[in-house]
């Protein structure tokens, strides 16, 4: 999978979702590749799994302040704190961003499935994945605050990739709960 092409897919999908649904213009920050998936130490993170001939995980993460802004723009009402509606909104934004990345990827990698998002909010948490593949990190500035899309994909050794995907996601969630 061409790294530059993957980054452009993520940028296009994220800009499209934020521009169309939120009326927010994002500024691209420099994308990079990292070996692990540390994510933020606090804030909101939504995680989805991708499965097919290639499988992996994708995340969207932002600060609590950005999460309230994003939910407010999506639902056209202010949010003073992180509640179920804010977490649901971040889950749906993640679903739309990574769903559109998935659609773009399917042209090269064949049919893929997308899991229902899992959303996490807290302080001092860490994430870890057992997947050996590198993570592509695509950051943006959203009204002055950093938001990030992380994507990890690898050829699946198991039929459909579902078993491996489930293991990866479970590992990521368990390490958050540790």
């Amino acid at each position: 999978m061409n790294q530059e092409k993957l980054i452009e897919m993520v940028r296009q999908a994220t800009r499209d979702v934020f521009g169309t649904m939120l009326g927010i213009e994002l500024t691209d920050e420099e994308a990079y590749v990292q070996e692990s998936a540390p994510g933020p130490s606090e804030g909101v993170m939504a995680l989805v799994g991708l499965a097919g001939r290639w499988a992996g995980s994708g995340t969207f993460s932002c600060s609590a302040e950005s999460a309230r802004l994003i939910a407010g723009q999506l639902l056209m009402q202010p949010y003073e704190s992180i509640d179920d509606e804010v977490l649901d909104a971040i889950g749906e934004v993640t679903n739309m961003v990574l769903g559109n990345v998935k659609t773009a990827l399917e042209e090269e990698l064949g049919p893929m499935g997308l899991s229902i998002p899992t959303v996490i909010y807290g302080r001092n948490f860490t994430t870890r994945s057992v997947a050996k593949s590198n993570w592509t990190v695509v950051p943006f500035l959203c009204q002055g605050q950093r938001v990030e899309v992380h994507l990890c994909l690898a050829p699946s050794k198991e039929a459909g990739g579902l078993t491996r995907l489930a293991k990866d996601q479970l590992s990521a969630v368990l390490s958050i709960l540790d």
């Binding site: 499209d16 979702v17 169309t20 649904m21 939910a71 999506l74 639902l75 056209m76 179920d84 509606e85 649901d88 909104a89 889950g91 749906e92 679903n95 739309m96 769903g99 559109n100 998935k102 659609t103 399917e106 049919p111 997308l114 229902i116």
Partner: protein
């Protein structure tokens, strides 16, 4: 005449947005029922009838395509137009929905105008 509508999506945010778009589109709304997945939608439709359904595809328990198939196999819901509103954009998924009898297909992210345009062709 008022139109009763059902919105099926596991995201409460999207259900809220679609409800707002229906109001903005000047649809003569009657009751607006909501369901978080296909199974809940079918359960609610046992005791209520609607004239339009907007449904996501990727949902837990029963997805939108399974729901669409079930609706088209029941006499009381076969004629209800179903518009799929989903992130699923691959041509194979669109064709699957069309073959199952979807009246329209809108990809997320969507604008209010795209929803209004689909509604105009159906109601």
């Amino acid at each position: 005449m008022a139109l009763d509508v059902m919105i099926v999506d596991d995201s409460a945010a999207i259900r809220k947005i679609l409800h707002r778009v229906l109001v903005q589109a000047d649809v003569p709304l009657g009751a607006v029922l909501e369901a978080g997945d296909g199974k809940e939608a079918l359960e609610k439709l046992k005791s209520a009838s609607v004239g339009l359904i907007l449904s996501d595809i990727n949902m837990p328990n029963m997805d939108g395509l399974e729901l669409l198939s079930a609706l088209k196999n029941q006499d009381q819901t076969r004629g209800v137009p179903v518009i799929m509103v989903t992130t699923e954009g691959s041509s194979s998924r669109v064709m699957e929905a069309v073959n199952l009898g979807a009246a329209g297909y809108v990809r997320k992210p969507f604008t209010a105008d795209q929803i209004k345009e689909k509604l105009a062709g159906i109601i």
